[in-house]
């Protein structure tokens, strides 16, 4: 389990707070640019950041998720690495079909965790 080995069911108020934050932050990011379109379009800083950010932010999340899965007491590094390699190989070799890559990687991990000791 990723990061949830010791936690229980989240409280209703907490879930609502998370939803409210997601809504407000995401809506602001989507709506605000329509109001200040011209300024954003001219800003080299914003343009370059938008070009550089996705690979890094997504990569950072992938590494952090890998680390938190690896840190949980029941995980075994080799099983995790095999599933990661299957995911990467499927994605690069089978034409970047996201659902197929996730499906094959997850299936590999589920089989290794449940049926291989």
């Amino acid at each position: 389990m990723i990061m949830l080995a010791t936690s229980g069911i989240p409280a209703t108020g907490y879930i609502i707070a998370v939803l409210a934050i997601m809504f407000v932050v995401t809506f602001t990011l989507r709506a605000l640019p329509f109001a200040i379109l011209a300024k954003l379009r001219e800003s080299t800083f914003v343009n370059v950041m938008a070009l550089w950010m996705p690979a890094g932010i997504l990569g950072l999340l992938a590494i952090a998720l890998f680390y938190s899965t690896y840190s949980s007491p029941e995980s075994e590094l080799w099983k995790l690495l095999v599933a990661v390699v299957v995911t990467v190989a499927s994605h690069l070799l089978l034409g970047r079909r996201t659902l197929a890559s996730i499906g094959l990687g997850t299936l590999t991990y589920v089989v290794l965790v449940n049926f291989v000791s």
């Binding site: 389990m1 990723i2 990061m3 949830l4 229980g8 069911i9 989240p10 907490y14 879930i15 998370v18 939803l19 934050i21 997601m22 809504f23 995401t26 990011l29 989507r30 709506a31 640019p33 329509f34 954003l40 379009r41 080299t44 343009n47 370059v48 950041m49 938008a50 070009l51 550089w52 950010m53 996705p54 690979a55 890094g56 932010i57 997504l58 990569g59 950072l60 992938a62 590494i63 952090a64 998720l65 680390y67 995790l80 599933a83 990661v84 995911t87 990467v88 994605h91 970047r96 996201t98 659902l99 890559s101 996730i102 990687g105 997850t106 991990y109 589920v110 290794l112 965790v113 449940n114």
Partner: protein
């Protein structure tokens, strides 16, 4: 007036159908991913109502998967806000070409901005002309429906399965691996990935309990330094690609 009342419903119907047709392609991707979201949410211990609530109000694909994980871990609200901001920052640029101007009704406009997901932007970018309010809204509403419906089917499947399947949450890691691979298609994207790795290691050393929060702040700081260094060397023009 007479003419309009006769023609308008016809063309409006055509516009709605066109929007629905354009939504089928993305819907084929959204629906199964929605199933995975519902399944994973219930397996992780979230209450069933949180899935449609997440998909309606927190409508943001990959971020929703991440939030399932962060919510079940009881992550702090500031980290939730910062993560949402950085993960969804890319949306800032969708306004440049998204045909929001065709929507006049304020409520519809509000909805259209809320439902401006990657897939909605991609469809309008691939079909730059001919947008009307009816076409755009039927596209966005239908995509939103595929996503929410997928989540509900996922809940149904999760309820039917007894117990939990160990290892199923690997799907979240797999999702972010594929998203990273898609973001790093050219060699120009490699420095960002290396900087992110450095930021992760720094966060791991400095604040092991706040890795994502600290990691993102450190990453943005390093990226800003990279920006000003590149600008001083005059190498920005190539990178910006314009």
């Amino acid at each position: 007036m007479n003419n309009r009342s006769w023609v308008a419903p016809q063309s409006r119907r055509h516009e709605i159908l066109t929007g629905l047709k354009l939504g089928i392609g993305p819907g084929l991707g959204l629906f199964p991913l929605g199933i995975a979201l519902g399944l994973l949410a219930l397996q992780s211990g979230l209450p069933a109502w949180a899935v449609p609530a997440l998909s309606i109000f927190g409508y943001a694909g990959s971020l929703e998967f991440l939030m399932i994980d962060m919510m079940t871990a009881g992550t702090g609200l500031l980290t939730i806000a910062v993560t949402t901001f950085f993960v969804n920052f890319r949306h800032v640029f969708y306004a440049f070409s998204f045909p929001l101007h065709v929507v006049k009704n304020p409520i519809a406009k509000f909805y259209s901005m809320h439902a401006l997901i990657d897939e909605a932007y991609a469809v309008t970018a691939a079909n730059p002309t001919g947008w009307t309010a009816a076409r755009l809204l039927s596209l966005q509403i239908s995509m939103h429906c595929y996503w929410v419906a997928g989540g509900l089917v996922g809940i149904a499947i999760a309820t039917a399965i007894p117990g939990t399947i160990a290892g199923l949450d690997f799907a979240l890691l797999a999702l972010f691996i594929t998203l990273t691979l898609d973001a790093v298609r050219t060699r120009e994207q490699l420095p960002s990935l290396l900087i992110a790795t450095a930021a992760f290691l720094a966060a791991l050393l400095i604040t092991p309990n706040q890795i994502i929060f600290a990691g993102m702040i450190i990453f943005m700081a390093l990226l800003t330094i990279r920006y000003f260094t590149a600008r001083r060397k005059g190498g920005l023009y190539d990178h910006a690609g314009n």
